[in-house]
């Protein structure tokens, strides 16, 4: 996640602009007030004069009660978490009411996406019932990412129609931020998952750090509690002190993944499905204890295998930023991949190739990224 703009994202921020919209109920209210005024002047009925006075008072008091405290509102948005396509994320806010006297009621908070990201992210507004003077309230607003990529969110709008519902007063806070939307991830089908196995040379590798592997790492002084069978007797005899043998850490089995360059004749949807499939394989491999590595030569991506949650997220972030039109700036040595996601129909062992993600993953992906150019498949069909 990165931020842009001049405002620090973790500091409470005052509004940048505000707006007032007269609602339909406000029009009705004004018409009723006019009606009362005409009736009062026509009939000289003093209770109608009083009712007209109340209508005017409603306008004035409504403006003061909601307009004045709203000016003392400050907002802070927490950094948006990374998201996956089709999985709802929660944007978190903290609202500070710096006013001393009037409380705030009935606030509605929502994100306003930039024009190009309106269809990529769907934001739902959230409501806050009350913020007292000198009080701080946390709020959350759900968002549903619909497209992979790095999307910008810019403005947070806090609005209220309190107290009488005549005018909507909105405050706009410019808090630019980016949301990384990773590809959709879904559990793989058993027959596909069974193909995800480490390469043949993986059993002989080990890492150069202390562990429980089979290779010798070194010797150290005996410490009380060390198993007796780990004592290296001969070196101990030579040094005249007890020494303990240390083993190396066995290296996790590695899984090199490659995404082939998409041909020009496939659709964007098919490309997205392939990326989603790759992301699902990465997550699946990480859960199985494999160290996934990713190589995409045509996009200048080469991330060696490692087994850690951070590494898996790095791979997914790379996939999130991957664009079909990316080009390599320099040539790399071609790495032999264990699993290739190809766009060419093939049934060779070790090569996964099918253009329909429903064939590989669960229905979840199909739901998020429906295939527009072919009939929807039923679950379980191969």
């Amino acid at each position: 996640m990165s931020t842009a703009g001049g405002h620090h994202p973790t500091m409470p921020h005052r509004h940048d602009r505000r707006r007032y919209d007269l609602l339909a109920s406000g029009f009705v209210y004004l018409a009723t007030a006019l009606f009362l005024a005409i009736g009062a002047l026509n009939s000289q009925n003093n209770l109608l004069f009083w009712a007209f006075g109340l209508a005017v008072a409603g306008l004035i008091v409504s403006g003061i009660v909601s307009g004045v405290p709203l000016m003392h509102l400050e907002l802070e948005r927490e950094p948006p978490p990374p998201a996956h396509v089709g999985e709802q994320i929660t944007l978190r806010y903290r609202l500070f009411h710096r006013g001393r006297l009037w409380p705030l009621f009935g606030l509605r908070i929502c994100e306003i996406a930039e024009n190009q990201d309106q269809s990529a992210l769907i934001f739902s507004p959230d409501g806050i019932a009350h913020i007292g003077p000198h009080d701080c309230v946390r709020a959350t607003a759900p968002a549903l990412p619909r497209m992979r990529g790095v999307h910008s969110i810019c403005t947070v709008c806090v609005s209220t129609t309190f107290p009488l519902g005549l005018v909507r007063r909105s405050l706009y806070f410019d808090l630019p931020a980016r949301i990384i939307v990773r590809p959709a991830v879904a559990p793989l089908r058993k027959e596909i998952a069974s193909r995800i196995v480490p390469g043949r040379e993986d059993s002989t590798r080990s890492l150069a750090r202390v562990g429980h592997g089979g290779d010798f790492f070194g010797l150290r002084d005996y410490a009380p509690g060390d198993p007796v069978r780990t004592i290296a007797w001969k070196p101990s005899a030579r040094r005249d002190t007890l020494l303990v043998r240390q083993q190396t850490t066995p290296a996790p089995p590695r899984l090199w993944l490659r995404l082939e360059q998409p041909p020009a004749d496939i659709s964007e949807q098919q490309f997205e499905n392939a990326v989603a499939l790759l992301a699902s394989i990465i997550v699946h491999a990480s859960r199985k204890g494999l160290a996934p590595g990713l190589v995409i030569e045509w996009a200048d991506v080469s991330l060696p295998p490692a087994l850690s949650p951070a590494h898996a997220e790095r791979l997914l972030d790379t996939l999130a930023r991957l664009e079909r039109r990316d080009k390599a700036h320099k040539s790399r040595a071609r790495t032999r991949a264990d699993l290739v996601v190809s766009f060419t129909p093939s049934h060779e062992p070790g090569v996964i190739s099918d253009l329909d993600p429903a064939h590989w993953a669960a229905e979840h992906i199909v739901t998020v990224l429906p295939m527009a150019d072919r009939p929807r498949r039923t679950r379980g069909r191969t």
């Binding site: 005409i38 026509n42 009939s43 005017v56 409501g127 709020a139 107290p163």
Partner: protein, 723 residues
């Protein structure tokens, strides 16, 4: 914060309060008995989680039923405010059955608000005013809760306990109360400022409160029927009595007879007004009450002034009430007044509802010489088809003979007329019983004869009729007066409350030509029993309520242009009469030449445009102009401070840094803090801030002189202007 629970409770309370208020205003007990339980039932039938809204087809059928009922009512009784309010009430009940989402709840609140407006148009009584204020507070609270819950509503459903800050309920309640109080204050200011009389009657009678005849008063007395004598305690009018010096004259032991109708013709048991009564009188059209209109004989010497407020009168011609003999009248509302100078009868035509007027009367007749004026003409005994006139003549003669007065009118001295009338009036003290029960008069006999010679029991109309007939039987001119007696003096408000039960009938006897004196033949013991105010706890409480209602009527309902003008003159010493200003403007416009009118219009347009431009630019540049103003004031303040110290600018600088999102910790030096937060402030701001920090250091530690301070102020202005 249990928003759904509060919303439900307040909503139900609002519905019941508005329905009750309207039914009280309209006096419609049937509607209340039907709609209040129906509203409660509908509320619980449609309230989640147990209840469900009615299906749409049923709702549509009910709406069609309301439409049919509306057409029926409009065709049958016309389009009046009562019909409109009934339709609003029925629509509210249907809407209660159709609550599916939060939006529907908002519509219920809106309908309640419109029912409140209908209630205002229905009645302007004090009780309704109090109930409306209560409804207003509930309406404000309900609206606040609704608007609060609207923000946290998702897909039309309200979460049970939405997130809220501390003390939410308490602060919401306080806000509602403060909003209500502030709204009341603003509405009172608007109420006082809005010009009266401006635009009156432009759209007919629209907006007038529904009026009804609560006086139960008629131009005739028909014996043998209950008449207008009723034990109802409903107030009819309020009376204040003043002397010529402006001092109030009312007292608990003083009783005033307020004359209404003067009935001088007796036909078949009915006392009616003579047909040519108003041809003999004067007719005044009084559009405004700048000066009292003289309606009596001149020269005018009045001794008693009555300020009377009729609570509710019809739009048709109706009686006004006054103490004998009215000589001048002043009304505070446009109306047509008919005044008969010989009988002192006053009639009015105008808008219905409350009517306020001032009558000045002369409650004594000037001393006259009977030798000069002569004696009143003798009248013939009244004859009727079923009446035995001889019995009346015999009885009256016997009464006068017993009193030592000659029954023969020709031989009787004029000075004996008063004694004779008094003797006849007191002849009913023994042997007669006062009762409000209207027994059936046997057929073929005159009701007065039946009362006088056989039944000997009846109410004041019988007594008055019998005395008038007996007086006429011995040649004394007499007439029956119907009106009210003011006996209930409210010491809290120094005014008399006259109720329907105070309706009374008595007799006036002509003691000299065109000189009439009142006599009350009703036995004084019965009169006191009937009209003496009760001293019970309930009656005392009612008197307090009456005092408050009198103040409400006098200060709110009757607040007019004159009172508005006098209020502003006494409070602010200004003449507040915009209606006259408009009239003057119109008159001047009419008198001017077209060229001058065009010039005036053009000048007005230019001034308006310039004013609009100034307001618009001020609004657009309000932030920058406000900032500039603040800067000027701050500089001025810094320069006039007796102790000019850089520490003040240091504090201002720290405050501004905190406002811009980089508060300075106490442990970090200023320059270090500014430099370390340069990336947050931005390049230009950071440079200016660092420069200011250095200057501040210099002014404080190196050269604390005036030049350094001026440099501080200059740098501070630069920083405060940098964005």
């Amino acid at each position: 914060m249990n928003l759904p629970g509060q919303q439900n409770r307040l909503g139900l309370l609002l519905v019941l309060a508005t329905i009750t208020t309207y039914c009280v205003a309209d006096g419609n007990l049937v509607l209340f008995a039907l709609s209040a339980p129906a509203a409660v039932a509908a509320w619980f039938l449609s309230a989640p989680p147990l209840g469900r809204p009615m299906p749409r087809p049923v709702i549509n059928l009910l709406l069609l039923g309301i439409l049919a009922y509306t057409l029926h009512r409009v065709i049958r009784t016309g389009f009046d405010i009562s019909t409109v309010c009934e339709i609003i009430t029925l629509t509210l009940l249907v809407k209660l059955l159709d609550r599916r989402s939060q939006r529907d709840f908002g519509q219920v609140v809106s309908i309640c608000a419109y029912l409140g407006i209908g209630t205002i148009l229905t009645s302007n009584s004090f009780l309704v005013g109090i109930m409306l204020i209560v409804c207003l507070i509930i309406l404000v609270l309900t609206t606040l809760v609704y608007q609060t819950s609207l923000a946290v509503t998702t897909r039309g459903e309200l979460p049970r306990r939405p997130p809220a800050g501390r003390h939410a309920v308490r602060q919401l309640r306080n806000l509602a109360i403060s909003m209500s109080i502030a709204g009341m204050i603003v509405s009172v200011i608007v109420f006082l400022l809005v010009p009266r009389r401006l635009g009156s009657g432009l759209f007919g009678t629209w907006g007038n409160p529904a009026a009804g005849q609560v006086t139960g008063f008629a131009d005739e007395v028909e014996l043998g029927t209950p008449g207008f004598i009723t034990p109802s305690a409903m107030p009819v009018l309020d009376l204040q009595v003043f002397g010529p010096d402006g001092q109030p004259l009312g007292a608990p032991e003083l009783v005033y007879y307020l004359r209404g109708a003067v009935l001088d013709v007796y036909e078949d048991g009915r006392w009616i007004r003579s047909p040519d009564a108003f041809e003999r009188g004067l007719r005044h059209r009084i559009n405004s009450a700048l000066e009292p209109k003289i309606i009596g004989p001149s020269p005018i010497h009045w001794t008693i002034e009555q300020r009377i407020t009729l609570r509710n009168v019809t739009q048709a011609r109706s009686h006004l009430f006054a103490i004998w003999r009215p000589v001048a009248i002043q009304t505070l509302q446009p109306s047509v007044i008919y005044a008969a100078t010989d009988t002192g009868t006053l009639l009015r035509e105008g808008d219905g509802g409350k009517f306020e007027y001032i009558v000045r009367s002369r409650d004594f007749e000037p001393s006259r010489s009977f030798a000069r004026e002569g004696q009143p003409a003798a009248v013939d005994p009244v004859t009727a088809e079923n009446m035995d006139t001889a019995r009346f003549i015999a009885l009256a003669g016997q009464i006068l003979t017993n009193a030592g007065i000659d029954p023969d009118a020709a031989r009787r001295r004029p000075s004996q007329i008063e004694r004779a009338a008094e003797a006849i009036a007191r002849s009913f003290d023994v042997g007669f019983e006062y009762t409000l029960e209207a027994d059936l008069v046997p057929p073929g006999i005159d009701p007065t004869e039946w009362f006088l010679f056989e039944h000997k029991a009846g109410h004041c109309e019988y007594y008055a009729s019998a005395m008038a007939l007996l007086c006429r039987a011995v040649g004394i001119n007499a007439r029956v007066i119907t009106g009210y007696v003011a006996t209930e003096f409210n010491e809290a408000s120094s005014h008399y409350v006259v109720r329907q039960s105070n309706a009374h009938a008595w007799v006036e006897v002509e003691t000299a030509p065109n000189v009439w004196k009142s006599y009350d033949p009703t036995p004084s013991a019965d009169f006191m029993r009937l009209h003496e105010p009760s001293q019970s706890l309930l009656a005392q409480a009612r008197r307090l309520f009456d005092a408050a209602e009198f103040l409400w009527i006098r200060n709110v309902v009757s607040f007019g242009a004159e009172r508005q003008e006098s209020l502003f003159r006494s409070a602010f010493n200004i003449n507040w009469n915009p209606d006259r200003a408009v009239e003057d403007l119109v008159r001047r416009m009419r008198n001017r030449q077209p060229r001058q009118v065009i010039q005036l219009v053009a000048m007005t347009a230019i001034v308006s445009a310039v004013g609009f431009l100034v307001v618009f630019l001020s609004w657009r540049c309000r932030q920058s102009s406000g900032r500039a103003l603040r800067s000027i004031l701050r500089n001025w303040w810094l320069r006039i401070l007796p102790k000019r110290d850089a520490q003040i600018i240091y504090r201002l600088f720290c405050r501004e840094l905190a406002r811009r999102g980089v508060p300075k910790p106490a442990s970090v030096p200023l320059l270090t803090h500014v430099e370390s937060n340069a990336h947050r402030l931005g390049r230009e701001q950071a440079l200016v801030a660092a420069s200011l920090a250095r200057v501040l250091y210099r002014a404080r530690f190196d050269a604390p002189d005036s030049a350094s301070l001026d440099e501080c102020i200059r740098q501070w202005n630069l920083f405060s202007r940098s964005v």
